[in-house]
């Protein structure tokens, strides 16, 4: 039977990869979500910090600003949004779940790589210009900025991927199991966390944990987060495989 159908119908033989690319392009149809808003957040956070740096008297040695992380939190929201808003629509356009995942996560991977590179470059400029001439410190965070450019880039990249995938997966869990699913997910995470703390306390492992934390470098922390990113990605994909619009 299937042979007859296939012989009669000229099959499209459309390369599946094209459709993953189509998903990425669909996510970019409205330029604001993936490009405009992150740009505004980074630029806005920087300008605000610059104004504040200018107001603080120069007698302070380093004027630290945490505004660099603002865009990362947006990426957490973006992970949620890119699933909830676009997944049902992509289903209406008969895109497979696999290609929706590849297109969306692939697009964000490119974006995260670019923003991370931007952070590294801005960090270098910041250090070279004595904090934009204002002794400000926003992109060249001490603990990270002293490492090589690649480790800096890797650290930022993994952090952004982690936040995006966390949002993406949470939204997928909600799509598939609604509130119950998210509740079970957060409760399990809490139980795991409390369990770990209890274990460490009971076993008297706190000094060892302390040493371990102090010994963490951007590279080891990044590598650890990278494993989490992979776990999150696989979990999100497996959850999406059976999600309905």
């Amino acid at each position: 039977m299937s042979a007859i159908v296939n012989a009669t119908y000229p099959t499209l033989n459309r390369n599946a990869g094209h459709r993953a690319m189509g998903v990425a392009r669909m996510q970019l149809i409205n330029k604001w979500t993936f490009l405009g808003i992150p740009a505004v957040i980074i630029a806005g956070a920087f300008l605000f910090s610059a104004v504040i740096w200018a107001l603080i008297p120069d007698s302070v040695e380093v004027k630290y600003s945490g505004a660099g992380q603002a865009v990362m939190w947006y990426f957490f929201g973006l992970g949620i949004q890119s699933l909830t808003l676009s997944f049902p629509f992509s289903q209406g356009l008969s895109v497979s779940r696999r290609n929706f995942f590849l297109g969306t996560v692939g697009l964000f991977t490119v974006l995260a790589a670019a923003v991370s590179a931007l952070y590294v470059v801005l960090g270098i400029i910041e250090k070279a210009t004595n904090g934009w001439g204002l002794q400000g410190q926003m992109f060249a965070i001490e603990w990270v900025a002293e490492k090589s450019w690649f480790i800096q880039w890797f650290f930022y990249f993994v952090l952004m991927m982690f936040l995006f995938l966390l949002g993406f997966w949470a939204a997928t869990v909600y799509k598939r199991w609604q509130t119950t699913g998210v509740l079970v997910m957060t409760l399990s995470a809490a139980v795991l966390l409390v369990g770990a703390v209890a274990l460490i306390t009971l076993q008297d492992w706190w000094p060892a944990v302390g040493t371990w934390i102090v010994a963490l470098t951007p590279l080891t922390l990044g590598a650890l987060a990278f494993v989490l990113v992979l776990v999150l990605g696989v979990a999100a994909y497996l959850t999406l495989r059976r999600a309905t619009p």
Partner: protein, 317 residues
């Protein structure tokens, strides 16, 4: 000649306490317009969701273009199913939705989409979530038509559309179908509204297929006979009575089958009024018959007199 492009075997879908589909067997042929008719909650959307791999079956088998559609781009790229409650990205305007559709349908006809948008008076630059129900339906209808997918589903496409827009949709659908034949499935609970478009009718009720037949066969499969009680009853004796309606001394009977010329004469001599049964009436009789034996007629149908004329009660709900 007729090639089945959709084959469904013993398909069931159970939710915790509801059986949405119950042992459905079905086959759709290439280049036909199907009507998937039934009441709200009959299982129409569930069935279409599973055929397009948007939803999942509990048991049974589905083949579309000879393969299972799930995660199968070869099959999926030939299907379009914009559901009645389709969600769009929050910040999307109709123009964005059409751009997105153009990315995935190789036969997408941009010029047609734009013409249709103008004809439906669709505000292309207004956010979709701010559109009226009718305008929202228009977005789905335009994507369905302009995608020219080999297998296209329209899910209650007329919701909120005014009479002019509805007629426009039916006209455009038929013109485009004549030019680019494909398989079209129109799901509807307003039956007479779409009756004239349909070549084949599938009636679904409580997750089961009640009728799966050519529209012509169905139109000829029952007839209304109305007149004074005793005369009508004796005329109908020995025939299967699908439905009975009493108004005072008058009775209106829906009987199965057709009348021979001799029988028509006999009915005339008895002073009985013979009239064809519209598809909508037929479906109502059949579904009521399948469920609780209600003696009450359909909501709007005026008794006896007008029962035979194919009414257009579309806009009423």
């Amino acid at each position: 000649m007729s090639i089945p492009i959709v084959q469904v075997q013993n398909l069931s879908r159970r939710y915790r306490d509801v059986t949405a589909l119950d042992g459905v067997n079905l086959s759709l042929e290439q280049d036909k317009i199907y009507g998937l008719l039934g009441r709200n909650g009959a299982g129409k959307t569930t069935l279409m969701s599973i055929l397009t791999a948007q939803g999942f079956a509990s048991s049974g088998d589905v083949q579309v273009f000879g393969e299972h559609p799930y995660e199968n781009e070869k099959v999926l790229s030939r299907i379009c199913f914009i559901r009645e409650s389709q969600k769009y990205p929050d910040d999307f305007k109709p123009v964005h939705a059409f751009k997105a559709a153009a990315l995935f349908y190789k036969n997408w006809d941009e010029a047609m989409a734009l013409t249709l948008a103008e004809e439906f008076q669709l505000p292309m630059k207004r956010r979709i979530k701010k559109l009226s129900r009718g305008q929202l339906s228009a977005v789905g209808v335009i994507i369905g038509l302009a995608s020219r997918a080999e297998l296209t589903f329209f899910d209650e496409p007329y919701l909120g559309l005014d009479a002019v827009a509805r007629q426009l949709f039916y006209d455009r659908l038929l013109t485009d179908y004549a030019q680019f034949p494909r398989t079209i499935v129109l799901s509807s609970h307003l039956i007479d509204e779409v009756a004239n478009l349909l070549e084949h009718v599938i009636i679904i009720d409580k997750g089961r297929i009640l009728i799966d037949d050519d529209a012509e066969n169905i139109r000829g499969s029952a007839i209304n006979v109305a007149g004074t009680g005793a005369r009508a009853e004796s005329f109908a004796a020995g025939r299967t009575i699908v439905h009975r309606e009493n108004v005072g001394a008058l009775v209106s009977l829906t009987i199965e089958g057709t009348l021979s010329p001799a029988e028509r004469r006999e009915a005339q001599e008895l002073g009985l009024e013979v009239s064809p049964v519209s598809l909508q009436q037929f479906v109502i009789r059949k579904t009521l018959d399948a469920g609780a034996p209600l003696e009450r007629a359909s909501t709007g149908a005026a008794p006896v007199k007008t029962a035979g004329t194919p009414t257009r009660t579309g806009a009423r709900r």
